[in-house]
Amino acid sequence: MIVDRQGDRHWPAGTPDSKGGQYASKLGLPTGFTDAPSSAWAEAVARSIARRIPVAETLDDVEPEYRPGRWQRLTTAARRQMYVQEMFPTIARMARKYQPDLADEDIRAQVHADSYEAVPEGAGFYMNGPHLVTVRSSRPVDHRLLLAEVDRLVVDYPPPDALRMGVREAAFFARPDDDVNGVTYGETVTGTATLGLSDSLFPDHLHAGSFDTKPGHKMPSVADVTGLRYVLTHEWGHVVTPKQTEQAALRAAFEVYGEFLSGYGQTSAAEAYAEAFAEWVLTRGQSSNAGVQGYAKRFGWKVPTHGD
């Protein structure tokens, strides 16, 4: 065990209380991020993570304001409670189209029953102020790492509304033509802060350059960062993309700067924005790419404050 200057304790990878082996490389030990993880290792990481993130038993325990690094783990019961609160108005409205005299309590009971299917046991639910991150995966997803990556973006580029992000099994994102058109790693509901990531990013894409698989098809920073960070930052570009009223501005920027971007960015105005955004953030605004600098100036992107 190692005690750092802040008094926090750390365990090397491979020990039952390891949280991913952040000191393992210094000690000459195998790191959890690069070695094939055993299920025992995954369980140990999960237990360790669960211990170190405060638990909110009910929604009343959730801090209302976002604070970087101060995530809370929601119990399944609390997440179901949240589901009922959020979904009741929509379901009530739909149901009353057919039966206007339905009582609130009857609808609420039905939504509560439905919440058991919508919010399954075994998933991880994390909240920080209004933001929610869900992990539904049997892979050894490092929840703390994921939340830290989200923090990097929320701090400098707050989402337009409450974040609703989920990590899910790669099979869920699979399409019949994946071998021709490529595998889906991220999805975003346009105009919202709702996005999904494939769990194949864990642990396959937790080392720098892991996503640098097709020369010129992504922005240069893909060689320097983990695949997870690249995909998440790109998806964040979709989240913070100006809304419908500014579609003309998006198209105009694409016409002027699109040619300077990656092959992937050149496929559409939306992807151009997301690719330019990712490169801007991942180079901390230091990119020499004329397209990236053009987008940053035109849309007023700030230089990120994160340290690495």
Binding site: M94, L102, D114, E117, T190, G196
Partner: protein, 67 residues
């Protein structure tokens, strides 16, 4: 403009599809994350849908067995 979902297939070409074109399982995923629009789409589907979201509105509004 209808709400869309962008699928990022980084080694190929991104794909943008209307939210309404997703299958039930995909809509349930977005609804479970908190998308009330996805939930509304599920509940409004005319054919019987097995699953929590559409059943919620359908069972209550149209009576059990008819949703």
């Amino acid at each position: 403009m209808a709400t869309e979902v962008t699928r990022d297939r980084f080694d190929g070409t991104a794909e943008t599809v209307p939210l309404s074109s997703l299958d039930d399982e995909q809509l349930r995923w977005w609804a479970s994350l908190g998308s009330t629009e996805a939930l509304g789409l599920l509940a409004a589907r005319p054919r019987p849908v097995t699953g929590w979201a559409a059943q919620a509105a359908g069972r209550m509004g149209r009576g059990r067995g008819q949703a």
